[in-house]
């Protein structure tokens, strides 16, 4: 890759220490996002995608969590080495975050306008009235109708879609370079989902911000991202660009995920939707070999003994599977 990456995560390890046991929620994850690009992070619940996102902004609750190793390079500086004060200047300003639950991620006792204005005043030192004007501007940008009157509303007076728009307005208020979207549409109705995704796509293009887009929905990835990393049990199992992934997934887990997307009509008619048997292993008790070996249709004897490494399986395409080693 020719242009330097905006964000580069190198060998990140984030562990949770609970009652004397260690859960390796994120284990040796390396990712990179170029300026203006969107990286999709896919995986099922508990695979470490949200923990990775929280680790970037150091929002992991300590204890029980701890970032044990690795580097998070943002514009060339390692965020893990920054002081608390300098980290605060980055949060919400250079890197912002959109959360999954628009119902709970807004403070119920403040009006939405106050909450967005607070971010602006915190980072840009604008006066109260200037900040208020900027809030109206942001609300119009994210498509909230009657912006001037709605900014005096409380979160409970708004619908889920509107609240998520407020969250997006808050995330973009200081024109960040990187936006982390942690399943921003998972809690919304499908029709609202489409609207929010459209809106995010437009705004990302307009502002030129890079995005780390976390989801468990491969369809959303296809619409939003240029590159994809598939995570499983705290590890990246496949990492490539969107076209390559959808054209030819190589890791058995990704193949399983693709197969379990329902297709309406056509060849699949009358066939059962395929699923991946079993459940993800407990992070407290990981198998010695490949994390996916218990559920993998292609597993052979070595899979249960040898932990696979990420190996190239094509141009700009890596997968963590012994089949290709």
């Amino acid at each position: 890759m020719a242009p330097p990456n905006l964000l580069e995560i190198r060998h990140l390890q984030t562990h949770f220490f609970v009652r004397g046991k260690v859960a390796k929620a994120v284990d040796d994850v390396s990712l990179a996002i170029a300026p203006g690009q969107t990286l999709g992070l896919v995986g099922e619940s508990g695979c470490g995608k949200s923990v990775t996102a929280h680790a970037i902004l150091q929002l992991i609750p300590v204890p029980p969590g701890r970032i044990v190793g690795g580097q998070i390079l943002f514009e060339g500086t390692d965020l893990l080495r920054l002081s608390q004060a300098r980290m605060r200047k980055i949060r919400g300003n250079r890197i912002s975050m959109i959360f999954q639950e628009p119902m709970t991620s807004l403070n119920p006792v403040c009006t939405v306008g106050e909450q967005v204005a607070e971010v602006i005043r915190l980072h840009q030192g604008l006066s109260r009235s200037d900040a208020a004007a900027r809030v109206v501007e942001m609300f119009q940008l994210v498509g909230i109708p009657a912006a001037t009157s709605r900014l005096r509303e409380y979160p409970h007076q708004m619908s889920g879609g509107m609240r998520q728009r407020v969250m997006i307005a808050m995330a973009l208020a200081c024109t960040p370079r990187l936006m982390i979207a942690d399943e921003p549409t998972s809690a919304l109705d499908v029709t609202i989902q489409a609207q929010i995704l459209d809106l995010m796509n437009t705004l990302i293009t307009e502002t030129g911000a890079s995005t780390l887009f976390i989801t468990h929905d491969l369809g959303v990835i296809a619409e939003m991202a240029q590159h994809v990393a598939v995570m499983y049990a705290g590890k990246v199992v496949e990492y490539t660009d969107v076209r390559t992934l959808f054209a030819g997934p190589r890791h058995p887990y990704t193949i399983g995920l693709m197969r379990s997307i329902p297709v309406v009509g056509g060849r699949s008619r009358g066939r059962r939707l395929s699923t991946i048997p079993g459940t993800a292993p407990s992070l407290f008790n990981l198998p010695p070999g490949c994390m996916f070996s218990d559920r993998c249709p292609d597993a052979f004897a070595d899979c249960r003994q040898v932990a696979p490494q990420l190996v190239p399986v094509g141009p700009n395409h890596i997968a963590r599977c012994l089949k290709y080693a």
Binding site: G92, E101, S105, P108, M158, S159
Partner: protein, 297 residues
């Protein structure tokens, strides 16, 4: 887009407003509120309301009965005590002392307790352990014993009685705030506040504490009731304001020996304490039903 909004868009109601309406429908709570308001007005307007100087003695008017008794007169509506002081005037000025003690001690306990509880709940770990163990130690003392010990150390005076009551009340505020803060900290908006780069104190004061206000308001109101009672108890024991301060507890204590010959001297201060405590309790219970339904038994 307006079709899916649950409430009218022009309806900018603060979440508290619905709860206050619910409170208004609760008749016992309103009764309590009326008593509380009368009590506060009496305390504030004491010099205007009282017919006599509360500390002026009159040797000619010792132990006059209330006006409806044989021998009573309109001059001293509720009668006089053994030094000829007008009981009504003393009660009115006593409201002032009770209100002062309640506000000062509960206010002090509120500030200190909320701060300690918030720090404990927010930072957890070592600070939590130290703060909450100290609170446990305070709670381990039998109820009225701790204020007595504190006053015994500091010397009996109104100010020291307030400090003593405040110290005993700190743990209940600290515990309630800590619990609420622990609960609020798990919510996404706290992470969101951190994610936009807010400092710890800002998250705590601006984001979290306003969400803990419900149970705090309830606890404050109920604490006013017990503070008035405790203040009366301390002054009954002679550990609070010294004579001739018109203090309800002290009035009862001084007239103990007269109960058979002049029962009114003791009954009226008792009724005053009862009404004030009852008012705050009824109002506090109503507030609890409206603001913090989870605290109901």
């Amino acid at each position: 887009m307006t079709a899916d909004t649950p409430l009218n868009a022009t309806d900018n109601r603060h979440p508290l407003r619905d709860q206050l309406q619910q409170l208004w429908r609760n008749k016992t709570a309103v009764t309590g509120l009326v008593i509380v308001i009368v009590f506060i007005l009496t305390a504030l307007l004491a010099p205007l309301l009282s017919p006599h100087n509360p500390v002026a003695t009159s040797l000619h008017d010792q132990l006059k009965p209330p006006v409806w008794h044989a021998g009573g007169a309109w001059k001293n509506i509720l009668g006089t005590d053994d030094l000829g002081r007008d009981i009504l005037s003393r009660l009115i000025f006593g409201a002032r002392v009770s209100l002062l003690v309640a506000v000062a001690s509960v206010g002090l306990a509120f500030v200190v307790g909320t701060l300690l509880g918030a720090v404990a709940g927010f930072y957890r770990g070592f600070r939590d352990g130290v703060i909450m163990r100290v609170m446990d130690i305070i709670l381990a003392f039998p109820y009225i014993l701790l204020p007595i010990v504190v006053v015994a150390c500091l010397g009996p005076s109104l100010r020291n009685a307030m400090i003593a009551i405040a110290i005993t009340y700190v743990p209940r505020f600290a515990r309630i705030v800590r619990g609420s803060v622990l609960e609020e900290c798990t919510k996404d908006y706290v992470t969101a506040a951190r994610a936009v780069g807010a400092r710890d104190w800002r998250i705590l004061l601006i984001a979290i504490l306003p969400n803990c206000l419900g149970p705090l308001i309830v606890q404050t109101t109920l604490s006013f009731a017990s503070a008035i009672l405790d203040a009366a108890a301390l002054s009954f024991l002679g550990l609070s304001g010294q004579p001739p301060t018109p203090e309800w507890g002290a009035m009862i204590a001084n007239s103990r020996v007269l109960i058979l010959q002049a029962s009114w001297v003791m009954i009226f201060p008792g009724v005053a304490i009862l009404l004030a405590v009852l008012g705050f309790n009824l109002f506090g219970d109503g507030l609890r039903d409206a603001l913090a339904p989870r605290l109901r038994d």
